[in-house]
Assembly symmetry: C2
Amino acid sequence: MQDLHTAQTAQDDIERSIVAGILSARIKPGTRLSENQLATVFGVSRTRVREAMMRLETRAIVHVSPRRGWFVAEPSAGEAMTVYAARRVIESGLLRSMSELTDAGREKLHAHLAEEKEAIAAGDKQRLTCLMGDFHIRLAELSGNGVLIDILRDLTARTILISLLYQSDFHAMQSHLGHCTIVAALETGDFARAAELSIAHLEEVEEGLDLTSRRDPLSDLRTSLSLPPAAAQSTEAAVPSRRNNRKRRTA
Amino acid sequence: MQDLHTAQTAQDDIERSIVAGILSARIKPGTRLSENQLATVFGVSRTRVREAMMRLETRAIVHVSPRRGWFVAEPSAGEAMTVYAARRVIESGLLRSMSELTDAGREKLHAHLAEEKEAIAAGDKQRLTCLMGDFHIRLAELSGNGVLIDILRDLTARTILISLLYQSDFHAMQSHLGHCTIVAALETGDFARAAELSIAHLEEVEEGLDLTSRRDPLSDLRTSLSLPPAAAQSTEAAVPSRRNNRKRRTA
DNA sequence: TATGTAAATCTTGCATACCAGACAGGAGAG
DNA sequence: CTCTCCTGTCTGGTATGCAAGATTTACATA
């Protein structure tokens, strides 16, 4: 919540800021989104914050626990699988439906792959999370279909939340290679193959998740205190207020 | 707006009622949705109506004209094409991704086709519009993927609005046959073929639209007065207040 | 020391009040 | 008779206020 009050907050900047924050992996799943705080930060009344939250809720990006607060979604394992399945359906359908790869499209894809490579070299994990999701938005943009782009953007946001929750180890290079093969198939004009590759890629990514074990609800606290799984320690630095120590309920 | 105040209006019944009204073709595109009227009808304050409208707006089912009012969406020709393209992508991807047709699924599809046949025999055009859209939701339900179901439900709602706007003549039997061939392909286990058929079917339906000529903005008034294209008459029954006579702006 | 209870403090939920823009209809001028 | 402008009335836009619920903390007690 620190650095998203940069813009001058026109109409629905609240909504966009939060989505942007999630897409860039700055906002973690389960983050509390206080109406009052957001209202203060964006210089509007709670009413408009509320409206933004409602809209985000219909996009399954945020959820409300009655009288408790708004929280960034924490997709369950079941939801995670559903989202990945949906993405496989849509992305493969998208690629298969393509009839040509324009020069501009090729250009953008290559530029993106270059960025990925760069981030891998730099080892910037947060940036990578963001880029790995962005790739699929780039694919959607190839179609030029605004409806599909919107849908995939939301699914990507949810995917990022899922990654942050369940991704034990981050096979960045593996994902990157997957993207490369998809682009390669597109360049040869073999869209059916690109579709198949995208399915395989998404399955691969999904398999990289640890959907069996529910995440430790206290893990963020533990990491804040910088201790691996147990034992106690004193200094807390990353916890600004006592409020963050709250146990979160998944219900 | 007459018969959607049946339910006892729990939390988001406003939203559901409107969507249901659209899915059943009772609510026409461009219908004005007054905050005050809805608030009265549902026995709540404008605040909650407003929230429902916001949610519907993010689903592209409703749109607001600043300081003028909320209206059921009237998709442009461009949007219409985009929506159909998106549906082709998603539905074909969905069918292609299937690995089996369960008995329960087969059962439901057949039941639906029977309903279609029945409605055709009865010549119930409104019911047909509803059923033609529902078929595709049934297909989505085969996947059991809640995310896809939601997406396709919204797209179907938009499709119905499009149909009401642009469908010059209603080739119900043609659509029905299309549905039958898709089901037949599914029954043989040839999901790739079903996918291709769904694309063809949707293209066929889209071609049945008249997307070139913008709909006459006065046509709803004319039909309300039950006169084909011109000349005047006196009694108006379906127009409760002068407000409804307003010319609507597409912007 | 551990535990149960109660009060305090936060949170959202909802309604209301007020503001400003847009349209319609009528009055007046040409 | 026609055109223009003005005003009344409706619309949504926004903020605020109050109420209800949940959680936490403090405190008393075993």
